[in-house]
């Protein structure tokens, strides 16, 4: 799942899904709690996000590609991550010693986060802390963060993708 187009060849493998968020129509989460309390598991905004979060939930391996801004995901990826809260319940569980939301049918996933842009060391440290928190809230079993410049994105994605093919 990427915030910009990536030239990847998936071939016939139906277990792999490529999502270019930049080509989709995804509105900001309005914080209505509808996906928790009115239509549980389903966002009340019926745009492209509703096609994406079921894939996020069922995937056991993910590659997220995002530009970094102020040490966090930039707007395109952040918008989608916020719209993915239907995959959680309102209810709270105690997980790794902290209170977090209960997950619905969400596979534990190996995540590779390809974080691109001209990030400095401080931004990278904030981003590491962010993904460490995401791991608890987004059901990452294992994760790896790869910091790259924008022109290294395609090659890095292809390298990660080859690991899946092995």
């Amino acid at each position: 799942m990427s915030d910009r187009p990536i030239n990847v060849k998936i071939g016939e493998n139906k277990d792999i899904k490529y999502i270019d968020l930049s080509s989709m129509k995804i509105a900001n989460c309005v914080g209505c709690f509808g996906c928790w309390t009115k239509t549980p598991g389903k966002c009340v905004i019926r745009d492209d996000a509703a096609k994406v979060y079921p894939f996020i939930a069922e995937s056991s391996s993910v590659i997220y590609v995002s530009h970094v801004k102020y040490g966090g995901y930039d707007s395109v990826m952040k918008t989608m991550i916020e719209r993915a809260i239907p995959i959680q319940q309102a209810f709270i569980r105690i997980h790794q010693g902290e209170t977090h939301h209960v997950q619905r049918n969400v596979a534990t996933k190996d995540a590779v986060i390809i974080a691109y842009g001209n990030t400095d060391s401080e931004e990278q440290e904030i981003f590491r802390q962010l993904v460490e928190r995401n791991a608890r809230n987004m059901n990452f079993g294992k994760y790896e963060i790869v910091f790259v410049t924008e022109h290294e994105v395609e090659k890095t994605v292809q390298n990660e993708f080859k690991k899946w093919e092995k």
């Binding site: 989460c29 209505c32 952040k78 209810f91 902290e98 209960v102």
Partner: protein, 199 residues
């Protein structure tokens, strides 16, 4: 100047927190919501104030995207007179520490744009605290935040419900069951494991 960065600003807890801040402030306070189309208007207003307090919820472990977009606009249109930026952030979890990454992001933004950073209040247990017997804890913390801005004696403050995690979990369950009832949705329905699919 108070800027509400919640996506549901008019109906948000952040609005209620802002009202408490204003109640205890001795400075003139003016309140604004961030919308998709008012960034330039807000930035022009910022010129007039010594202090800006941004009040917002934690969203997916960091800043709500509406606030992020506002900051990106602010970065490219910085006011000549730069106010001190204070923040009040609230999360729905018991641990106020879960707000730390978002605070680091704001600190990073301020440092890189030469905006002085003022006070920080991190609140835990945000969604429900104002409707519980622990309301006074949130009110007291916001009063302290307000006083610190008034006196320009900036501080880092924290507050949450003094509950063990298991009890917070139970209290949250009751809160959300009541919330669902308003829409005729049962606890069982709220706990459905399916995502999308047939409702």
């Amino acid at each position: 100047m108070i800027i509400n960065g919640s996506p549901r600003a008019p109906k948000s807890n952040s609005r209620k927190y802002s009202e408490i801040f204003i109640k205890y402030s001795k400075l003139q306070c003016d309140y604004f919501n961030i919308t998709k189309s008012n960034h330039h208007e807000l930035i022009a207003e910022m010129e007039k104030y010594s202090d800006v307090v941004i009040v917002f919820p934690l969203y997916a472990d960091s800043l709500p995207v509406g606030l992020l977009n506002f900051l990106k606009n602010l970065e490219t249109n910085l006011p000549k007179n730069r106010p001190v930026i204070s923040i009040l952030i609230n999360c729905g979890f018991l641990e106020y520490e879960q707000n730390c990454v978002a605070v680091s992001m704001i600190r990073y933004f301020c440092r890189h744009n030469n905006l002085p950073m003022g006070s920080v209040l991190m609140l835990g247990s945000g969604e429900a605290i104002l409707d519980t017997p622990f309301r006074y804890i949130a009110v007291r913390a916001i009063k302290r935040l307000s006083e610190s801005v008034n006196k320009r004696n900036y501080k880092d403050l924290t507050a949450t419900m003094p509950l063990p995690k298991w009890l917070f979990k139970m209290a949250a369950r009751s809160y959300w069951i009541r919330y669902g009832k308003k829409f005729g949705v049962s606890e069982k329905e709220m706990k459905r494991m399916e995502i999308e699919g047939n409702m």
